[in-house]
């Protein structure tokens, strides 16, 4: 029993250590201004590492990610804007480094596809609703309608019309 508790504690501690370890990779890049520091962190979070492809430059421990962080840090120290940093990386590694793909003909499908699908779905929905309405309206023949009106006039009480 104590063994189990110990294992659980050890595992819990491991979970706790994970994020701590990840932040240490950033510590070599410091800005005097905490706001700028935060800005640097935000910027490298938007950029994707090419080696560990599902990690951002901020998260990745790959050698290349380290080099690119240093590059971004240097550019920011030189007073370059975010757009200049992003342009620099896109010119070398392509749109792949951006988690947020730019709107252009080759990405129209990603950006607008869902809305097109939504419109098609709405159109199908409206069409099928209209059809249903049409069907229910037709379901009562003229003879039935006449009889219904008669019955309603008579106070809603009727007898079985079948012989």
């Amino acid at each position: 029993m104590t063994g189990r508790i110990f294992t659980a504690l050890a595992l819990g501690l491991l979970l706790y250590c994970g994020p701590l370890q990840a932040t240490t990779t950033l510590e070599s890049f410091t800005f005097p201004d905490p706001e700028q520091q935060q800005h640097f962190k935000d910027l490298i979070k938007q950029l994707r590492c090419l080696v560990c492809q599902n990690q951002s430059l901020a998260d990745s421990d790959a050698e290349l990610a380290h080099d690119l962080r240093a590059e971004v840090y240097g550019m920011m120290k030189d007073g370059k804007s975010d757009q200049q940093v992003i342009d620099f990386l896109v010119a070398r590694y392509g749109d792949f480094v951006l988690y947020n793909p730019p709107v252009k003909p080759s990405t129209w499908l990603i950006w607008f596809g869902p809305f097109v699908l939504l419109l098609i779905a709405l159109w199908l929905l409206v069409r099928s609703l209209r059809r249903q309405q049409h069907v229910t309206q037709q379901a009562i023949s003229d003879a039935d309608r006449q009889r219904l009106e008669q019955v309603l006039r008579a106070g809603g009480h009727e007898e079985d019309p079948r012989p």
Partner: protein, 179 residues
């Protein structure tokens, strides 16, 4: 008959989806297309691997069809590729240059001494800064440039006899024909 055709629509959509997914599965996400294709090669001036007092620059690669191979001694695929490169250099089909990427000079020199040197010259890029300009994100990578120094092709991963026969040689023939 036409009434029943509409029941085929879901089947068609499903087939389309399967087709797209099948294509998606066969793509390798590790192969990121380079935005540098069709653009002039990035400028660089680096020391030569064999001699720290001499430099090599992008100008040395111009005026002929050239191949730039990015390699390092820490890269095991480079070792696998090296023999192919040595053999390819013997054919003399293209001017082969090397970019020794994030490596140790002495280690790299020893490597070439032991395994053979297919390169006309090697640029030594210990901090990988030139590698970043070329959009390098691993080794080996291989670039092909035309006479004017325009990048025409990038191969990610080791060169093999098959890659040379199906990708590199046809491209070189095409570039030679157009110039």
């Amino acid at each position: 008959m036409a009434r029943y055709l509409r029941y085929l629509i879901p089947l068609l959509l499903f087939t389309l989806l399967v087709g797209l997914l099948y294509r998606g599965l066969s793509l390798d996400p590790k192969l990121v297309p380079s935005p540098l294709i069709g653009k002039p090669m990035p400028g660089f001036t680096l020391t030569r691997l064999d001699d720290p007092d001499k430099t090599i620059s992008d100008a040395d690669l111009k005026g002929k069809i050239s191949l730039l191979n990015v390699w390092a001694t820490w890269c095991t695929s480079c070792r696998a590729e090296h023999e192919t490169l040595v053999e390819f250099a013997r054919t003399g089909k293209v001017a082969i240059y090397g970019l020794n990427y994030k490596d140790d000079r002495a280690d790299a020199q020893r490597w070439l001494m032991q395994l053979g040197n297919p390169y006309i010259a090697n640029a030594f890029d210990p901090d990988g800064r030139t590698g970043i300009d070329w959009g390098v994100y691993g080794a080996p990578e291989t670039f092909i440039m035309d006479k004017h120094g325009i990048i025409r092709h990038k191969h990610i991963g080791p060169l093999t006899g098959q890659v040379i026969a199906s990708e590199i040689l046809p491209l070189i023939a095409k570039l030679e024909a157009s110039e």
